[in-house]
């Protein structure tokens, strides 16, 4: 039986360290520093983006647990980054101009001494003639990273 994570208060020192980490991650992505971003990732990461359908409320939230837009692990994420470093990844040649906005950050500390972080983020992407806006929510567990590691200067998540 796992108990609910202990909330980390907004404005606390630990809260600020995690939020700063998210801001620095967003800044790296907006600077197209994908190699630097890859350095932040844990090798046991699971990166999924389930598809969501419109369903009546009796049928739940519409997320499918068997099908998504992404089903990545460290190896496939690294493949994506290496692909962007070729000169023929046309979806990013020329590159996008993006700005990530991160908000609504909530943090809990679980029984395994990990942070469970949820946030909302908003991405503006401008490229060619089609501006795009993404506004998904994110939930992440800092897999395998202890609270102590996370708060240290060379954070890895």
């Amino acid at each position: 039986m796992s108990s609910a994570p202990t909330p980390i208060p907004v404005g606390s020192d630990r809260y600020s360290r995690v939020v700063e980490w998210l801001y620095r991650e967003a800044a790296m992505l907006d600077a197209s520093d994908y190699s630097g971003w890859l350095e932040l990732l844990a090798e046991d990461l699971v990166y999924e983006m389930p598809i969501r359908q419109s369903v009546y409320q009796k049928d739940g939230d519409g997320f499918r647990d068997d099908f998504g837009f992404f089903a990545d692990d460290y190896g496939s994420m690294k493949t994506r980054v290496l692909r962007l470093k070729t000169d023929q990844a046309w979806a990013e040649q020329p590159g996008s101009r993006t700005r990530h906005y991160v908000s609504n950050v909530l943090i809990g500390q679980n029984a395994k001494d990990e942070y469970e972080v949820s946030c909302a983020f908003f991405v503006m992407r401008t490229r060619a003639i089609f501006p795009m806006i993404f506004s998904p929510a994110s939930a992440a567990t800092c897999c395998g990273q202890t609270v102590k590691d996370f708060a240290s200067p060379d954070v890895r998540c």
């Binding site: 419109s54 009546y56 049928d59 089903a71 692990d73 190896g75 493949t79 979806a91």
Partner: protein
Amino acid sequence: MTNLDSTVGRDHADLNVLVDDAGGRISRRIYADPEIHALEQERIFRRAWGFLAHESEVPNPGDYIERALAGEPVIIIRGNDGKVRALLNSCRHRGMRVVRADRGNASFLRCPYHGWSYSREGQLVRAFAEELYEPRYLEKETLGLIPVTRVESYRGMIFGSWSPDVPDLETFLGNMKFYLDMLVGRTDAGTEVIGSPHIWDVHANWKFCVDNFTGDNFHLYTAHGSVVQLGMLPPDPMSLAYGTLVQAEDGHVLHMVPGPPIPEAEYLGLPKALVPQLQRNLSPPQLELLKNHTFTVGSVYPNLSYLHVMVQGALNTPPTPFLSFRLWQPTGPTSTRIWSWLFVDKEASKEFRRATYEAYVRTFGPSGIFEQDDMENWEECTRVNSGVIAQRHTLHHGMGLHIPPDPNFPGPGTAWPGSYGERTQLCFYAEWKRWMTLEKPWVRAEA
């Protein structure tokens, strides 16, 4: 055979001139013209058989999903009799969209406006305040949801047509059935859909999508150059040229390409545990083709395509095959809604299902390392071809047109040796022209 009025557009261009399939020249106007889009809806999409769903998407009575046919919303629902129906998603009272969810299960379909309720078979069972109608003003047996004119299935794949005149589905598919059987008729229990389709919208004309899936192998070494640079495709740009382009029937076309000469690449790379089933369910020529090929991509006229490729989802992982069906639905002259289903043989192992899902979504899902570059080309082609100056000049389809057919190819239809060429694209455009100009394009001259 009667020709439809074939003048179109501001300069009364003849549709027969816009597509010169014999000369390999295609007008850019067909990709960006509101009048041509309207004519396509009338002459192609309200007549031809359009793919709607796989039967596994609605396994139980009352299960429904919403789809579209020629741009109009359609409910696919399994009735209490076990039969799957396709019904226009529009109440007979005020026309309200009755079902407003992508999927669900219902005992009755109840309109959210005034409460008219329909059975799982589409019959009107209850109107609001029925006692206030004199019976002759509420003849319920005539007020069911409007059924799609024709609904037929082929090996679990449900198609619909708004035309009472088009031939039955199997006649329409013709020799394409031989090739579809190699995808969806090869194992004892057939295929099913994993999850539900990916759906995304692109600023592109649907014909660029079909064009790419009618046999365009030679875009790989440019459009997908990033993946070549990573070493996930062989470095030789001719390595995918040693296959065959096939016109199965009319506008139904495909290519088949061999992979490396290793046992893992035989039978499209399918798990070896399934091979005895292939041997039971397929004919010797179908088995020979499957055994000798690793990749096949094709299109069922007008806008259903498939992709069966063996590919790495990430560096340093084993190549894994997947089967994706694609529907390219025009939503305007320069916009398309893409539907992409992942099919799997029902009897595949749990491990294979996970591996085929990962291979698909990482490469040809909407975020895939191949797919995202394809969108670039289709959107930019559509945008640039909208220009007045651009439209003064035709597009070029001329590769391999001098190559004679291969009489020894084991499958039906016409097969041309070499899988780099523009024959099959031109088969699609020729059929497009027939449907746009002929009153009964499905009637062929006696051979």
